[in-house]
Amino acid sequence: MAHDTTLSDAHAEHEHHELPTVFGFWVYLMTDCIIFGSLFAVFAVLRNQFAGGPTGKELFELSGLALETALLLVSSITYGFGMIAAHKGEIKSVQMWLGVTFLLGLGFVFLELKEFSHMIAEGAGPDRSAFLSAFFTLVSTHGLHVSCGLVWIIVMIVQLSGVTAINERTMNKLTMLSLFWHFLDIVWICVFTYVYLASMI
């Protein structure tokens, strides 16, 4: 009974006015958007400066890119299911979905690191040409964000393991992580379109 009351109170409050923390986090995401915008601008300027080195067409593989994209896309919907479970107050289910999201995100980071190490081993590291410098800066900034998201997911799973009900504070944290995770997926849409696919035409 006590459990239900806490949940419905927290939920009702959350539903009727979004706390300023969530809005503040939204503003942070928008500034992050400007960082990525700058890096995309840099990449757009340097995309043909190969300095006699390998081009994107020679380096990128569609199959690996498709797998990375699929992992990130599926992790978006699994996080969404986690949020739905959170609004229902099903803590175990939230932890399970967060765990699945974590594994998918980890798979993405693993594939990206594998791709990077493969490129560097081939002599196509960030020091090879302006194109590769811009490529590594942009893509690894996104990868670093995903890695931070992974740490955040672990923190949330641990925080949820000790509670019997999801209070408003925890719900806000989950909501902000949701915005963060889905935002990174949006950045990835631009990465796979303008960095990878556009280089392979």
Binding site: L7, W26, M83, I84, I201
Partner: protein, 110 residues
């Protein structure tokens, strides 16, 4: 009663249905972009235009179905900040391309 109501999750948080719709649309748009590039059936400029358009649509799909952006008054400030940022980023990218393109043309670096 109120407990029962709250168990269903408000529309502003997105329901399982809206997540699934968003996901299906995202998969279709992503697959279309990959197929256009892999198919090599369009000219390079037409391919670029097509994948750019597909990406723009997919960004909107993600914003609406995953980040739950909407036009309610509760979201008014989020939307204002978003539009400001969008304008900022467009000026940043278009301005950079214009200035650097102009510089390259004058320096005859290509």
């Amino acid at each position: 009663m109120s407990t029962d109501h709250s168990a269903h999750g408000g529309s502003s948080h997105g329901s399982a249905g809206s997540y699934v719709i968003g996901f299906v649309l995202a998969v279709i748009l992503t697959a279309a972009a990959f197929m256009v590039v892999m198919g090599h059936s369009l000219s390079p400029s037409a391919t670029l235009t097509t994948i750019a358009a597909l990406a723009a649509v997919q960004v909107v799909v993600h914003l609406v179905f995953f980040l739950h952006m909407n036009t309610t008054s509760e979201q008014a400030w989020n939307n204002k900040v978003f539009l400001f940022t969008l304008g900022f980023v467009v000026i940043l990218i278009v301005g950079t391309l214009f200035i650097m393109g102009n510089t390259a043309a004058h320096m005859m670096s290509r």
